[in-house]
């Protein structure tokens, strides 16, 4: 496995190297998948190709098998990935568990888990949300009580993405019921084959089973599966996100959707209707300007700066634009908006309803846009009360 100091390359050279290899190695049948969250089985070839090349994990340090990219190079990695229509891979291990362990894990934890993420042996999922703790994580109730060298875990997680295809889960659990709500939380790594773990997939609006409920019924988790200090889980969980918050604002989905809108419009002759043109122009320019704003934040990362809470504005604009584009698509579709099936055009099908339904999600998940606005009001605008 060849390793290079990627960060020392000029950006454009790195971009070219990365793009060429991806274009050669990402199977064409996996490009531009309709599914937003394919399972490991569905994208295994691509996962393994990346793994063998050593390019699976862009941000992990080189000593742990990652590429060690700085934020600027990481942006290029993500951009080219999106531009070439590569599918998202199950990335909780790479994106969340890895950084968590690298920062807070014991030497044993790193040695045990990191290689198995890279090999695809461990598929991870993330146990944060609970039925009564959606936007309000501090009120989570899944409990873990230390008894005889084991944490005994009881409770329920929900909206656990791809849990039914995972074999490990990292969970936020309450380890001190007396502490203030945001204290007393810890992070545990849990083998999902342990007795007492049950997974129930939940179908979404599009009929896909992306997320699950995960139930813990007196699951005995060895004490050495605790990450970091006990009761410090909240801080840990928040800290691993770092600069990657910017990607919530990356205009990938609206860009894809606008391309589909354009295809449908071209096929239906809608660009000859100034009424459509006018509405399309608004969407096109919103996307374009979102790009300019994204670039503003990207520049901060490239020059080695850190992102503030203000980056959330991208997430709000991004997810609401995505919805507006797909709403326009249904309007353009006319009576064809009554179809679940993709709409036929001379240049391939357009998944109008699929995108419309999918666009409902991002404004809700990853912190609803209302929560984002609350945070911006306080943390950026400094508003009272």
């Amino acid at each position: 496995m060849m390793q290079t100091d990627w960060n020392s390359l000029p950006d454009e050279e790195f971009r070219e190297i990365f793009r060429d290899w991806v274009d050669d190695n990402c199977p064409s049948e996996l490009r531009y998948m309709r599914k937003q969250r394919p399972t490991y089985e569905e994208v295994k070839d691509w996962y393994q190709a990346l793994s063998e090349k050593g390019w699976l994990s862009p941000v992990w340090p080189v000593e742990h098998g990652g590429m060690g990219l700085n934020p600027a190079k990481h942006m290029i990695y993500v951009e080219e990935w999106a531009r070439l229509g590569c599918p998202r891979i199950p990335d909780h291990g790479i994106g969340l568990v890895g950084p968590l362990l690298i920062q807070y894990g014991t030497a044993e934890q790193k040695a045990e888990f990191l290689p198995k993420i890279l090999s695809g042996e461990h598929m991870w999922c993330q146990g944060y949300s609970e039925p009564n703790a959606g936007s309000d994580l501090a009120s989570l109730r899944t409990s873990a009580v230390l008894e005889d060298g084991h944490f005994v875990v009881n409770g329920q997680k929900i909206w656990t993405t791809l849990a039914h295809c995972a074999n490990w889960i990292f969970v936020l659990v309450r380890t001190d019921k007396e502490a203030k709500p945001q204290r007393g939380i810890s992070v545990l790594l849990v083998d999902m084959s342990l007795p007492g773990v049950t997974v129930r997939p939940i179908a979404n609006l599009r009929g896909e089973k992306d997320f699950c409920e995960v139930f813990f019924d007196s699951v005995k988790v060895p004490a050495h599966r605790l990450v970091g200090e006990v009761n410090q889980g909240w801080t840990l969980a928040k800290s691993v996100l770092g600069h990657e918050r910017i990607f919530l604002g990356a205009p990938t989905r609206p860009e894809y959707a606008l391309g589909r809108l354009e295809k449908l419009a071209t096929s239906r002759g809608a660009f000859d209707d100034p009424a459509f043109l006018s509405r399309y122009a608004k969407l096109r320019l919103d996307l374009y300007d979102l790009g300019s704003s994204f670039e503003r934040f990207a520049k901060i990362l490239r020059s080695g700066g850190e992102l503030g809470a203000d980056v959330s504005m991208l997430k709000i604009f991004n997810t609401e634009l995505y919805q507006r584009i797909t709403e326009e698509m249904l309007m353009l579709a006319g009576e064809e908006s009554r179809y679940n099936d993709d709409l036929e055009t001379e240049n391939g099908d357009v998944d109008a309803m699929n995108l419309f339904l999918d666009s409902r999600a991002p404004a809700i998940f990853g912190g609803s846009n209302e929560i984002q606005r609350n945070i911006l009001a306080k943390a950026v605008l400094g508003l009272p009360g």
Binding site: D136, S139, I158, W159, A203, Q323, S337, R338, Y339, I364
Partner: protein
Amino acid sequence: MPQMVMDDEDGELAMLRDSVAAFAENRPGPKTVRALRGDHRDMDTAQWTEMAEAGWLGLMLPEELGGAGLGIRHQAIISEALGRALIPSPMTTASVLSSLLLAAAPDSAERSRLAEGLIAGSAIVVPAIEANGHLVRLNGRREGNVIRLDGHIEFVEAAHSATDFIVLAEVDGKTLLLSLPSDCTGLSRADKEGVEGTPLSILVLEGCRVAPEKCLIDGADAKTVAKAIDLARVAASAELSGIASRAFEMAREYTVNRVQFGKPIASFQVIQHRLVDLWSEAEMAAAAVVNAIEFLEGEDEKASRLAVLAAKARASDAASLIARRAIHLYGAMGFTDESDIGLYLKRAINLGGMLGQAEQLRRQFVIEERAA
């Protein structure tokens, strides 16, 4: 809470409303929707028969055809209540529109047969005369005594279950309204999956031969057909208005019960104002449908026409908007298939897309109003 407010001195409308609510109690709409979708069925024919028994089918058929001879006011109450309860059925097309087309036809054996079957629920008479907000006329050619039909019609509901279709054909420069048996040779069907998960069909006619006694109207007046479609639009609008009202109520109930940060989320001002706006939209939709009904009961043709266009546009947009926003207010739960709110959205889109889309109807309104 929002619903159509109309004079109801003798309590007839309230009784109709109650009868649908009672029906829905034993046959919860969302459950039926899920069952149909699971089996890829286009309608629940058993429930359709029960609706016939309840006296809801062919409600607007004149008494001489065995109908109740009631007006759009009564139909709208039923449609609104079906919308609220999300009871899936081809009411707008296979009951309202078919009835009105039959009512407009001169007396004939075929007309009587269809009317009788429609009222009893034994014949499922599906009109296939319109797509994308416009009339669709098949190519017809006389071959001796019979009429040969070619062409296709998209977006046909209940095409699997239909026993008869009603179609329009252009024959020798004249428009004919024809009845077409669903087992007619040369008639085939291509299915697409509709947004509710049930099939929407394209009827393809290749040399279908229809006997002369199947002709319901020989020389159908475009205005007559348009008027029938307008009334069907009001039925669809009422159903959409019911969907809008119920989706608002669901959003209200969910947010009142859902606690986050130690408070019901409906106590947050942003949520409150959003609910107020959704409520207002639902009220506007209901009032728009009532307005259309009242004009249709009057004499002014142009005013009725405009009121219908307005009602369908308003109700379509309101239902879809409210359901979309409700999904967002439900949070992650709204994005699940388990929650009924998504079913409301899908039905809103389905009905909103039929008989003309909001934007199209609005433009039509202005063009017709200014043509004065």
